[in-house]
């Protein structure tokens, strides 16, 4: 029954116009970035490298597909959570608002299975978003700008990564970015279990992200004990793959904390949904 309902969830996501808003918005944003970089990328790069030009000499194709993919990831990882929440926040509450939840829950399928099948569908949808972002940023970026060494500006300074040493980093960076986006998906599903309208969980998810991000960026000692446990602190941990050497222990810590949040949010969603009176 779980897989049958998961199949149903895919049909619903595929048929819903809002599912394509995320993909279309993502495509448009990346194409705009690619176009802007093609038109005026040299100036953008020189703005970044200007402070190092007295001590360093930059040769070769700096504005290459690898750098473009990094810029795209950097710019969009903040916005993609909204595109994910737009679909996943609607999965349970949207059905409640439509009245179809009532129909669904009079069938011989347990409520836990309903949540899990929606979670699987959300995971696949989020994966499609990330893979599509990777394709546009890395593959189309390399096709338009060619390849070359990747120069990344970190808090420690400039990191120069050989072009042959970049692809695996992107693979793992996209995997961690996916885990971060799944945290957003599970959070919005948890909110969705409490709500009977579509907008509430989407707005609540974004509100939590903004709140946690602000707390994370405030340089106040009272939040020092909280910050390491906020999932937003670890959403940018994909960047760590572009450090040299790679800080594996910090990355693993982020992965565990993000996984923990995923499990917590799914547990909350199931706990609430199993006890919910369906009155809509």
């Amino acid at each position: 029954m779980l897989w049958k309902n998961t199949y149903n969830e895919f049909i619903k996501i595929l048929a819903k116009p809002r599912s394509y808003i995320g993909l279309a918005a993502l495509t448009l944003l990346i194409l705009i970035i690619l176009f802007a970089m093609k038109a005026d990328g040299r100036m953008y790069i020189s703005f970044v490298t200007a402070s190092f030009e007295q001590t360093l000499s930059f040769n070769g194709n700096i504005l290459n597909g690898n750098l473009i993919a990094f810029i795209v990831l950097q710019m969009l990882i903040v916005h993609i959570p909204l595109l994910v929440a737009l679909v996943t926040g609607d999965l349970l509450s949207g059905e409640a608002a439509m009245g179809t939840l009532r129909m669904l829950l009079t069938k011989p399928i347990s409520r836990s299975q309903v949540v899990i099948s929606k979670l699987i569908a959300a995971a696949v949808y989020t994966l499609i978003l990330v893979v599509w972002m990777g394709f546009l940023a890395l593959i189309v970026g390399r096709w338009m700008f060619g390849t070359g060494d990747l120069i990344v500006l970190n808090s420690d300074g400039l990191v120069i990564l050989n072009y042959a040493d970049v692809l695996w980093r992107y693979g793992l960076a996209f995997a961690v970015a996916y885990l971060a986006l799944m945290t957003i998906a599970t959070l919005s599903i948890a909110f969705s279990a409490f709500a009977d309208n579509s907008i509430g969980p989407i707005v609540s998810t974004m509100a939590v992200i903004i709140l946690f991000t602000i707390i994370g960026s405030l340089d106040v000692s009272v939040f020092d004990h909280v910050k390491p446990w906020l999932f937003t602190t670890h959403m940018a941990s994909w960047r760590s793959f572009f450090s040299d050497p790679v800080p594996w222990s910090a990355i693993w810590e982020s992965v565990w904390i993000l996984l923990g949040h995923n499990i917590l949010f799914v547990a909350i969603a199931i706990f609430k949904f199993k006890r919910k009176d369906i009155t809509t």
Binding site: K4, P17, G99, M103, P108, I109, D277, I278, T279
Partner: protein, 305 residues
Amino acid sequence: MNQEPIIEVKGLQKNFGAFTAVKDVSFTVNKGDVFGFLGPNGAGKSTTMRCMLSLIKPNAGQINIFGKNLFEARNEILAQVGSIVEKPDFYKYLSARKNLEIFARISGADVSQQTIFETLDFVGLTGREKDKVGGFSHGMRQRLGIAQTLLHQPELIILDEPTTGLDPQGIIEVRDLILRLKNEQNKTVILSSHQLAEIEHVANRMVIINKGQTIIEGSVSELMNAQETLLSIELLQRANEALHLLQQQFSNIKGEVISPKTLELNVERNLIPAINSALVNGGFAVVALEPKRTLEDFFIQMTQN
């Protein structure tokens, strides 16, 4: 009529915070019944229906369906139940057929494409299977809702206010569908409504609830016959003498002459044939006998008391 109980609801109670929606509802539905679930708006009908489908968890009471506790054998029971709660809602962006496929897939039975087309035909939606439900009228959605309840050939069908919002033609169509379910497919049907004529026309047994409590339960005809009705009798002439004759033959009969040709009596419905015979045997030419009190009066009397 087979007296095998299909549903037994005992002492059902449901609170939403401080508000008690259902206080004490009990009734039994037997196999093959078209069972009317009657009550005014806010009586607790929908809450009871939702409890029977495990959409709402009651605070107290017991619901046994097919001899099993609903909350212990939920999936097993729901696999044999088809239902519409309040109004059938569908995925508006999908076609009628796709909607039925979605619900069929999780119905607990293997439902073939042929069954889907046959069911659409049964409810009169052949030719509209590829149309998106968003463009359907309320009546068409109601019929699609009934199709959805039938896909997996359930033994029991629960319909909560299935004619709400329908035009007279739509009401007749749904009523006809319910009768066909009983007569052609031998289904047990529970039908909640505040449209009393609907129950009167299709149900053989019923329960009346009000303010979250069971008021009365029994066979529709027995409940109707046990109640006094206002009987209007139209004769060719001599209404006064007719009343005198009837008062001699039937003890405690109350009535009055309205005109030389018309009299009205307060009598139990089951006495009407005997009154007719007495008048004919007494030489009176009876033009019409019209019981003026219906289930509606009975219902109002019960719920107001």
